[in-house]
Amino acid sequence: MSGRVIGKALARAAALVAIATLALGVLYPFAVGAVGRMAFPWQAQGSIIEADGVKYGSAQVGQPFSDDTHMWGRPTVADATLFQGADGQPLLWYGPDNLSPASQQFAQRVEERVAAVRAAHPDRGNAPVPSDLVTVSGSGFDPHISPAAAEYQVGRISQATGRSPQEVRAIIRQCTEKPLLGVIGQERVNVLEVNLMLDGVLEAVPNR
């Protein structure tokens, strides 16, 4: 194999990488972004839920909730060291737990979470706790819980907020999305949206 063949191949590779960088690295994302901005501006900018000038979060990103007046989501493993705001203040971000569901450490965490959930929901007695309330999601910031996990909390939320169980259930229904064609994916409740409605910040769910 002569050096000339290799040299020529490297030159062609450099030319191809240059075109690809321009076309696939710059034009392609710009084209997608341009269509996105025009047709789906809310989604393209992160599905941010905004009310009265305050940005309360993304509909696609969960937050930790433990207040009695709020619906609780999946347990989070939060971090406040990765990101800082403009004034150097820590910003919250999340990651998965990465524990094997067959490990002793996992068993212990589940037991602790079950105890904490049950202690906050005396009206539920010894009923089994829906699994998504005691397991960490794949991303660590699952924005949803299951309808079973939402229903489990209705009594506690109703008591803490003074709203009737029917009112709480009506809010949950508004924030519930169905599976695609009834079978693909899962029925799920957006926890941040429920809590913003419970707090009276939101009157309706955005963009649905």
Binding site: A15, S47, V110, V114
Partner: protein, 592 residues
Amino acid sequence: MSDELGAALFEAAALIALLVAVALPLSSYVVAAMEGAPSMARKVMGPLERGCARIVGARPDDSMGWKRYLVGAVALTVVGMAVLFAILIAQGVLPANPESFPGLPADTAFNMAASFATNTDWQAVAGEARLSYFSQAVGLAVQNFLSPAIGIAVAFALMRGLRSAGAGGLGNFWIDVIRAVLYVLLPLALVGALIGVAQGTPQTLQPYETVQLLEPVGVDAEGNVVEADSPEAVQQVTQAVVPLGPQASQVAIKQLGTNGGGFNGANSASALENPTPLTNLLQCGAIMLLPLTLIFCFGRMVGDRRQGRMLMAVVIAMLAVAVAVCMAAEYAATPQLLDDGAVYVGGVEQSAGNMEGKECRIGTGETALWSVFTTAAAHGSSNGSMAGLTPLSQVVALVLMGLGEVVGGGAGTGLSSLVGFVILTVFIASLMVGRAPEYLGKKIGPAEMRLAVIMVMAPALVMLAAAAVLALVPAASASAGGDGAQGFTNMLYAAVSAGANNGSALGGFEADAPWPNLVLGLEMLLGRLVPIGCAVALAGRMAVLKPSAAQVGALSASGPLFAVLLVAVVLLVGALSLVPALALGPIALATA
């Protein structure tokens, strides 16, 4: 069998059937595109193709011998890797860096550059926390197009070599890459990206969003997050970050090109990357689309559709077993989760089974299906935490990767490995019936056998070597992220994932350290370039052999008997190379 498991298996069967149904006509389109046949698409894209070819200095009629073809493939990989390395090192001074991320250290940049140039997409660091928009879109995404295009090009070179009547070259490498991008990858990615944005995946150059937390939390002196009113809290956290960026464009091509490297560390488990059941279905299907399509392309290219159908049957059969085992394990959950009945894992008003590491909008079944697809197809993306899978599912994932890109495999590279196994099987079967081995009418000699054996053994060898280094060098074992069998499983998974050019990971493994960065980076290069070198050389040797007329009583390499033999050979090679290591890791965990 529970109702939920039954329904999930039915859904998986329907999706696989749909994929096969789409792959069949798509293979006709891909063959026409790669062979330069006239088509509607060529009327539209033809001028672009010719423009790119002129700039690169390549002509379609300049058909290459195997050495020139291989030099081209290696040159493009090396140049792509060098450019990506430079971007990652220099991202601190490059534009489109609203979060002001500094350049990556050299060992991390080497690992990531090797990873994305080899279609592995192993990610030593979480993208949203360390990479600028420039690095993601101009660095990683470009390799997400070029690396599968190289794989597809090599697969077509191999098919042309097998088909050749004894004189032909293997085609022009540069033209093949340009065609794979323009006709196959780019149109599909554009459609996928637009659906992604519509469903809720960000696509913007705006900086990350800062939002108010409804419930502030506290941070203790060590930086751990605690409750806001905890006595250990030394500071309150009232705001959270929402990572944005050109995500949709990148997610589409990482799913289609058997790449797998997410914009975010959480990959498609993040609702930003994979917001709805629709995106999950499309992304999951996209993992397997090109690997399956190329199998049908094989039948068309070698002029014997039965070959394509036989290989498809073999791949689907192995895939089906893996899906069934993984789903059964995930729906059964674990005693640790059941907690003596305190936790409800049934399917009424929620997803049944093991929800650890899974998302509520996706559920257990579709996460199990994705986990099988992503490890079968040398893909590496995930829509949940691989670490959250039950031990048996992790064994399935490890076996699928360890078999060496056979059950679908990477775009192009999967088909090449499969052909390597076919040749090995032809050799063994011919010996059994006492015939001279021949495949597609061409005699298989010692040189062809050597190439086929190196091709199928190389991934297993580099995996085991890398696992040994990680386990034996104390500075490397520090990354294991666990003790005993769990720690070994984490290391083994990393080594197998890198060698198979997969890129999925058990999250416990601490990947971003000099030893794993260098060992795994080298492993990814070897696991990619050695099989590609063998495939192109094999193509060159086969191309100069004249096919002979089929002999009476010659072995049929397309019947059911041959298919069974092929599966047996694949499993035997995989078992012999992997079982001892599996026994020390995940099998020990599963039976503990």
